[in-house]
Each structure stands twice: as C-alpha cells, then as structure tokens.
C-alpha cells in the first residue's frame, strides 16, 4: 500500500514538474536571450547558458527607447487604475449585497451582461467618448476609461455575500454608518479577496495592449506594452535586434514580478476567517 502511494506521488510530482517547466520555460528563455548575442539566439536557441553574457543589450535597449518612461507610465497608471477599480468595485459590491433597492437584480444582470460582452465591442464608443472629453493620447484618458472592472465587482460581490448578516447588523447597532461598515468591517474581512482582485487587475492592466495602443500615440505617453511593440517595430530587422527586444521585455516584467512577490502569499490562501459560529 505504502509502495503504491509512493509511486502515485512520484507520478503526480513528475506531471506537476513538467507543467511547471512548461510554464516557466518561456520566461527563462526570454531572460537568457536578453543577455545572448544575436548569433547565439538563433544558432543555439535552446541553450539556457549563453556562451557570453552581453549585458550591454540592456544599455542598448535603454538607449534605443525611453523604457524607463514607459515603465513609469505603466506603473503609475496601473496603480491608480487598480486602486480606483477596487474602490468602486467595493462600493458597487457592497450596494449589491447589503442594500435592498428597486432594480437590484436588474442592475446586477446588466453588470453581468457587460462582462459577457467582448471588450473590443466597446472600443469604438469608448474612443468617441474619450475624444469628446479631450482625453485621447493622454494617460489620464487611459485611467478614466479603466475605472470600472466588472470582474472585480463580481469577485467582491461573491465574497461580500458570505459576510454573515449578523456581523453587518451588529456594526449597524454599534452605530457604524454604511461607509464605516464597508471600510472597517466588510473590506478588512475580505482582505485576501481584495488583494487577489488587485493582483489580477494589476496584471490585466499592465499587460493590456490593444486599448492603450489605440488611444496613446506620443512616445512620452506610451505604456510599456505599447512602447515595447513600437520599439520592436522601429528596429527594422527583427533578427538582428532580437536580444535587445528581449532585454526590453525583461525590463517590462520587473514591476509584475515585484507586485507578485509582495502579494503572492495572499494569492495562495484566500480564505475567510471564521467569525460566527454556525
């Protein structure tokens, strides 16, 4: 029996290990390629240890395009977007779960409906609206057009539904306003879900390419996803500059890795602590 168990474990671990390698390999390959020479990349592309380290690829990349500006643009817009998205999503989710009002179900159905809608269908109307607001080619335009995140609303609504009614009522009879209940009781009780939502939304916003590429034109206004594409196109011959593109890409993922490292311990266990006895 014990022997069988061991074999079973071995099989599972092997499969998991293979999956893990499959997932991480492109990332490692990108990092390695960013310090390879052009000839190395194409002659011996599977090789994980380069024959020589070409750190100057990074310097070249930074010289060829304003990557630091792109990164900064991406980081601050994404941070503001995430904070505002969570602020609004918490408020919407609280209203949807704690208030009784006419049309609550209808409102939720509409919100759910917009989630089903492919985002591309909203690009033209959003573009027209941003144009009218005079916010095209502006990072604030990017922020404002991303204030609502339906996925975060849905995620938080599900979490808020699990907050025991009595806890809310106890807070109410303790004299707390709805605003206080949301920020002092409901949000802290769902901290992990909020951090999850933050991480997902951060990655989504940071990696979003299509929409920013439509509204941002000036180099100094570009976010990293758009800038990177612009850079790789501007180099002309793709093969020659490949390691430099990889160096740029490596720079692009740094903020994501930082955020992930900070938030990952919450990412793993998003479990609500028990508060009431059933």
């Amino acid at each position: 029996m014990k022997h069988m168990e061991r074999i079973q474990r071995l099989v599972i671990f092997t499969i998991l290990l293979l999956c893990g390698v499959l997932m991480v390999y492109p990332m490692i390959w990108m990092l390695v390629s960013s310090v390879k020479s052009t000839s190395d990349v194409f002659s011996d592309s599977l090789r994980l240890i380069p024959t020589a380290f070409h750190w100057e690829n990074f310097a070249n990349a930074l010289a060829a395009a304003p990557f630091l500006t792109y990164l900064w643009n991406s980081t601050w817009t994404t941070t503001i977007i995430v904070v505002l998205q969570l602020l609004f999503a918490s408020m919407v989710a609280y209203a949807l779960t704690q208030f009784e009002f006419f049309g609550r179900r209808g409102l939720f159905a509409i919100i759910l409906g917009t989630y089903m809608l492919p985002s591309a269908t909203t690009y033209i109307p959003s573009y027209v609206i941003l144009g009218k607001l005079n916010l095209l080619n502006s990072l604030w335009g990017l922020v404002i057009s991303n204030l609502a995140n339906v996925f975060s609303i849905l995620l938080l609504r599900q979490a808020f539904l699990k907050v025991p009614k009595e806890v809310i009522e106890a807070a109410r009879s303790d004299g707390a306003s709805e605003w206080s209940i949301l920020w002092r009781i409901v949000v802290p009780m769902n901290r992990n879900t909020l951090l999850n939502a933050a991480l997902i939304s951060f990655v989504g916003s940071f990696n979003d390419y299509l929409w920013p590429s439509l509204i941002l034109n000036d180099k100094h206004n570009m976010v990293i996803s758009v800038g990177l594409n612009q850079f790789s196109n501007s180099l002309g011959s793709f093969e020659k500059s490949f390691p430099i593109v990889m160096a740029g890409t490596a720079l692009a993922v740094i903020p994501l890795i930082v955020v992930y490292v900070i938030l990952q311990r919450y990412f793993v266990h998003s479990v609500q602590t028990a508060s009431v006895k059933g």
């Binding site: 106890a170 807070a171 109410r172 009879s173 004299g175 707390a176 602590t273 028990a274 009431v276």
Partner: protein
C-alpha cells in the same frame, strides 16, 4: 414606566407573509423581559423591530416615549447581542468591545478605560489581545456581551445569546446574565425558545406564538395560571396535563368520576382541566386511576407517564416508589390551583374553580 412600547404593530413581508397583525406590548424600564416562543413565532423579528434592523409595515414604535419608527439602528441607543455572537473576526477582543464606542466618537482614553472595565466584569482581561478565532464559544459569547455592556445603553436586546453554548455553560451563563442585569439595572429584552431561560431569568415573560402574544406576566403567574392551552403546554417540563372532561348529567366527569367543578358557564358542554405534574399525586383510594407506561428518573424525583382512559397523563413523584409498566395507580388531584380551559377557544375559563 414603559421604555419600549409597540402599538398596533403590523409586519408583512413583500411576499405577503404576515408575521404580526396587530401587536401591542410595553416593556417596563429596568425589567428583564423574556420573549419566549417556539421557533418561527416571530420573536426574533420582534426584537429586530425594536433594534431598528427591521421596518414595520404599520403601527408605532415608541422608545422612551419617542416615536422611533423611522430611526435607523445606528441612531437608536440600543445594544444588541446576537445568537451567533457576530464578532468582527479581524479585530482583537479589545477592538471588538470598543468598536461601538469608537463609532460613536468616544475618546481613545475613554474607550480604553471602558473596555478594561467591561473585560474585568466579564473575566476577559487575559484575552483582550486575542482574535475571535482563538476563543471558545463561551468566551466569544462574553465578548459579544462586552460589546453590548460597554455602550452604557439604556436598552439591551439579546437574541438567543446562549443557544450555541453547551448545557453546562448555558446554566452558568444564565446566572451570570442575571447578576449582570442586577448590577447594571438596564432594561433587557431577551428572546429565547428555551422556557427554562425564561422561567429562571425573567422579571416578566411574554409568551409569543404565531405572531400573537399569548400571555404576559411574571414567571409565577404564567406557570400557575397559563392563559390558554398553548401556554399551558409550552411552559413547564414536563408540560401541564390537559385532560378533556365532558358534562354528564350536569356534572363534569373524568374517567366516569364526577369532579366537582363549579362556576363553569352553563353552555359549556366540554372543558379541559389543566394540572401540573406536581399537582397530581399517587393515592390508594382514588377511583381515578392511570395505567403506567414509562417512568423517567430525574434523580431527585421521577416523571411517571401513562394513560388515563385514552388520555396521556404524567405526574411528578419524589417518593422513589418503584412503578412498573401496566401498573394501575390511583391519582389524587391538588385542588388549590384551578385551571380550566374552553376546548373551542383554548382560553382559560377565569371563573371556573374546583369546589
């Protein structure tokens, strides 16, 4: 003085379900009032109406002589204790207890002092920095109580606060709560389905059934003179015996024996005799005899269950006599307390007495 008054209160849910139709009650200042009734009788709803957590469909709610129908829960100076404690899981015990004060804008030093006092009163001083998840059920319940008492509220509402505790702890907490009430002198409205809690703790009991108040009175009044057959069978363990008797030749008889009951309205052809198990005792020379079925040994005394004719009957016996199944036991009725009920209306016949 009545501190809480409900006048003609009606509560109907959107789906048309009516909880109360025309409910009137008043809670006296300083009293420990227990609202008792079986589950689904509307007692928790009633408490939530007083707390402002539930809107009424009609009628008036007065708290300290002020109409408070539209005053939200947070503006009513009422402290509530919930059945499942409803502690804030992300706050320490101290923060849990102090939250209500903080929300009402108390100064930090004041909060600290009051939390400390409450903790001492409830024996929680050692747990102030712990989180609810680290506490036992009894400790969590004490924190919930602490959260209420720290508020210095005039009115405390408690919704089955002991029902999640085990029997032993429940008995201890009953005494603690009574002591606490004596110490604080605050009006307390306590909801429970447990008639022992009602009997042991209440200054006044309100018996609620199907959204209608069946009887209001002290534990003694309700126990000795239940207003109707529902109260008679709900209060008391084992419940009051309710024996059907019918008129034969102008005289009410049980098991063929005349009972000598007087002042029964003339049009009453049947009535129900209410007898507490302790008001029935075994005797050798009675023509009324029951057949013993089951004996429950309670230690100090025993409950002897059986049938009288076709009717179930039980008496309490502290003589340690040994009874066996099928045995015939003559019964003597204590005629000091008269409880007779109309089988149609189930109400007590106030005039009727034993002769």
């Amino acid at each position: 003085m009545a501190i809480i008054e409900l006048k003609h209160v009606r509560k109907q849910y959107d789906k048309g379900e009516t909880i109360f139709n025309d409910l009137n009650l008043s809670i006296q200042e300083g009293d420990f009032t227990v609202i008792v009734g079986p589950s689904g009788c509307g007692k928790s709803t009633l408490l939530r109406i007083m707390a402002g957590l539930e809107q009424v469909s009609g009628g008036e709610i007065y708290i300290a002589d002020k109409l408070e129908n539209d005053v939200p829960a947070k503006k009513r100076n009422i402290a509530m204790v919930f059945q499942n404690y409803a502690l804030y899981p992300h706050m320490t015990v101290a923060k849990n207890i102090g939250f209500g004060l903080k929300m009402r804008g108390a100064k930090k030093a004041v909060i600290k002092e009051k939390v400390q006092n409450a903790a001492e009163m409830l024996d929680l001083t050692a747990y102030l920095d712990k989180y609810p998840a680290d506490l036992s059920g009894g400790q969590m319940q004490r924190v919930a109580l602490g959260r209420a008492i720290v508020r210095d509220s005039k009115i405390y509402l408690m919704d089955e606060p002991l029902s999640n505790l085990d029997a032993k702890l429940r008995a201890t907490m009953r005494v603690e709560l009574t002591k606490l009430h004596r110490q604080m002198q605050a009006t307390t409205v306590y909801v429970t389905h447990d008639q022992t809690e009602a009997m042991t703790m209440a200054d006044r009991i309100i018996v609620l059934y199907e959204g209608v108040i069946q009887q209001t009175g002290t534990a003694d009044e309700i126990y000795t003179h239940p207003a109707n057959t529902f109260v008679a069978s709900f209060i008391g363990i084992p419940p009051m015996n309710l024996l059907q008797a019918s008129r034969q030749d102008g005289e009410f008889c049980l098991a063929g024996q005349p009972l000598n009951i007087s002042k029964v309205p003339a049009d009453q052809t049947d009535l129900i005799i209410g007898l507490r198990p302790e008001d029935i005792s075994p005797t050798f020379d009675s023509p009324i005899a029951m057949t013993v079925d089951v004996v429950e040994n309670m230690g100090a005394d025993q409950y002897v269950h059986g049938t009288l004719g076709a009717q179930p009957i039980v008496f309490r016996d502290s003589s340690h006599t040994h009874y066996h199944q099928g045995q015939s036991v003559g019964l003597h009725f204590n005629r000091h307390i008269s409880n007779f009920y109309d089988p149609q209306t189930t109400q007590r016949l106030e005039e009727a007495t034993w002769q």
